[in-house]
Symmetry: C2
C-alpha cells in the first residue's frame, strides 16, 4: 500500500464524510487553543513580521481545516490591535496528502473569508490561502519561509506500513496478541518518521519560528498494552468475524496493517501539556479508516465492515469508558 496515495479522510460533505464526522478533532483543537494562542502571540511579539506564514499540516477537509488557522489569525489580530500596530498580511498553507479533498476546501473558502473579514474588521491585513498537497515526511516549503506550523491529530499517521509485520496475523495493528517484533517495528517507523518531520520543519521555519503539534498518544509505556490499540482491535474483530464467515479471505486480512502509531509521553521528546476527552467513535473512525479499508479489501464489503464495527463499539461503550489521550508539543526554532 502506498500510504501517500491511499491515506486520506473521507471526502465530500455526505453522511460518512470526514467533514461531518470530525467532532473529536475539533474538540481537541479547542482544548489546545490556550497553548497555540500563547505560541503565536509570542511569535508575533518577538519580531512583528509584516507577513506571517502559517502552515497547517494534515489539514484534512472539513470544518476543522479552517477552524484551527482562523483561531491563530484572530489571536494575532487581537494582540496587534491591543498594541495599536498595523496588521500583518497572512499567508496560510493548508497541507495534506494528495488524496485529500482540496476541492471542497477551496469551494468553501469564499464564504469563510468573508466571515473572517467581518470578524477581524476592515483594517486587518489580507489572508491568502493556498493548498499544499504532499507528505509532511518530506520538504513541502522553501527554506526559512514559515513562521508558524500547526498540526493536530496527523502525526500519528506513519509514512508507510512498517516493514516486518508478517507475523501479525489476524491483527491489523499492535495488539495484545501481536508478537514482540510488531510493536518494535511500529516504534522504529515512528521514530524515523518523526525525526524526518522535525528535520524538514527546522529547515522550513524562520529563526524564532514556532510549531505546535498535537498527537494522539498512549497512556502506557508498553506499546502492546491493550489500551493504545483499542479502537483498531475492535475493527479487527469485525474483520475477523467476516473472515470466519468467508466474506473476506484470511490472507487478505493477514496482510492488512494500519499505518498509525500512537506514541507514549516518553516517546516524544518535549511535552508541555496533555489533556483528556471522551467521545463516541464509530462514525468518526469510518471517516478516517474507510479509504484504507476500500483500498485493501475493495468497495463491496465496506458497509458491512462498519456496520459490524458499530455494533461491537456500541456493545463495548455500554460497558466501558473510551478516552483519547493527547500529547501536545510546543517548539521554537533557535
Amino acid at each position: 500500500m502506498e500510504v501517500g496515495q491511499v491515506l486520506h479522510m473521507n471526502g465530500g460533505v455526505g453522511e460518512t464524510s470526514y467533514a461531518n464526522n470530525s467532532f473529536v478533532q475539533q474538540k481537541v483543537i479547542t482544548m489546545t487553543k490556550p497553548i497555540t494562542e500563547d505560541a503565536i502571540t509570542k511569535l508575533y511579539r518577538s519580531s512583528y513580521p509584516v507577513a506571517i506564514a502559517i502552515a497547517d499540516l494534515g489539514c484534512s477537509s472539513g470544518p476543522n481545516t479552517l477552524f484551527a488557522v482562523s483561531e491563530l489569525i484572530k489571536a494575532v489580530d487581537s494582540i496587534r490591535r491591543k498594541m495599536r500596530r498595523k496588521s500583518p498580511e497572512y499567508q496560510v498553507f493548508l497541507n495534506d496528502l494528495p488524496g485529500n479533498d482540496f476541492n471542497t476546501i477551496f469551494r468553501s473558502l469564499s464564504v469563510f473569508q468573508n466571515k473572517l473579514r467581518n470578524q477581524l474588521g476592515a483594517d486587518a491585513g489580507p489572508c491568502f490561502f493556498t493548498g499544499v498537497p504532499g507528505s509532511f515526511y518530506g520538504r513541502l516549503f522553501r527554506k526559512n519561509s514559515l513562521h508558524f506550523v500547526h498540526s493536530s491529530y496527523s502525526l500519528q499517521w506513519l509514512s508507510q506500513v512498517p516493514e516486518g509485520l508478517e507475523n501479525n496475523k489476524g491483527n491489523i495493528y499492535m495488539a495484545s496478541s501481536s508478537p514482540p517484533d510488531v510493536p518494535r517495528a511500529y516504534y522504529k517507523q515512528f521514530q524515523q518518521d518523526f525525526s524526518l518531520f522535525l528535520k524538514c520543519r527546522s529547515e522550513e521555519l524562520v529563526d524564532g519560528g514556532r510549531m505546535v503539534l498535537t498527537v494522539l498518544r498512549r497512556r502506557s509505556d508498553d506499546p502492546s498494552s491493550k489500551e493504545g490499540c483499542y479502537i483498531w482491535e475492535l475493527l479487527a474483530m469485525a474483520l475477523n468475524d467476516m473472515v470466519l464467515e468467508g466474506v473476506i479471505e484470511e490472507e487478505k486480512l493477514n496482510t492488512f496493517n494500519i499505518p498509525q502509531y500512537t506514541p507514549s509521553q516518553n516517546e516524544i521528546d518535549l511535552s508541555d501539556a496533555f489533556k483528556d476527552g471522551g467521545y463516541n467513535v464509530a462514525k468518526c473512525m469510518r471517516a478516517v479508516a474507510e479509504p484504507l479499508i476500500v483500498s485493501h479489501f475493495g468497495e463491496a464489503i465496506v458497509d458491512q465492515v462498519f456496520q459490524r464495527y458499530r455494533e461491537i463499539i456500541a456493545d463495548r461503550m455500554s460497558k466501558e469508558k473510551t478516552e483519547f489521550v493527547n500529547v501536545i508539543v510546543s517548539l521554537i526554532k533557535v
Copy 2:
C-alpha cells in the same frame, strides 16, 4: 451569475473534460515559449535569487497546468547549469477559480515531480507546488513575494458579465447584430478588469519581477466585427434553434451572456509579438463553456446544445478557415 463561483473548465479526465480537450492552449504555450524563456532567463540573471516564486494564473486542470511551469523551471535550470551556479529552490503557485478541479492536479503531481526531477538531474533544487484558489482580479499573494507571473488564455475571461446587456437579445456575446452599447459595455468591463489585474500583480511582484501574459485577441479594432465573436455566434445559433423548437425559453436565452472579451492589439498597452494558429474547436469549446451553460440553462439540455453546435461548426469549417490570434505581453516591474 457569479462568475467566480461558476466559471471553470470541465473537470476530471473524461471525454468532455478540459484535460482531454486543451490541445489549442498547449500549442499556444509552445509557440510563446521563446518569449517566456527569454523573460525568465533575464529574471534569473538579473539577481540570481536563491528561491524563485512562479505563479501560473488561470492554470486550469489538465496537461497544460504543469506544462507551462515545467518549461519555465527547465529554462532556469539550463541557464544556471551553464553558469555553474547552485540551483535555486522553486516555489510554484497554481492559481485558478475555486471551481477548478484542483484535486485532479494534486493527484497527478507525484508522477510529474518524479519525471521533472529526472529531467533536471540530482543537483536541481526542490520544486514546491501549491494551489491558490481565487480570482486574479483581486490580490492572491503577499506583497513582493512573486518573481515571475505567467498567464495563458485566461485574461479574456472577465470578472463578471458586463452590466447593461439588456438589449443583447438573441445573442450571447458581442455579435454583428448587437446594439452599439453592447461592445461598449464589454470593453468597459475588460478595461476595469485588466487595470485591476495589473495593479494587484504590481503589488505582488518583487522589484525586477516579470510577467508574460498571452491573451486571445481580435484582429479588428471594431469590437462588433464578426471575426472576434465567431465561435460564440455559432453557439448562439444552436441555442436560438432550440428556442424556436421550444426546448429553451426565449427569456432564458436573452439573459445569458458570456463573460469574455477578446481585446484588439490596440486595447492592450504593450505588445511584443503575436502568432497565428488554426484548430478544430468543437470539443475544445465544450470543455470551456459547459459549466456556464449548465449553470444558466440546466444539465438536461447540455448534450443537445453541443451536438447542434458541433454540427454547425462542422458545416462552417468545411467552408472557412478558423484561426485564433493572440497577443503576448512581456512586462517587468521597475
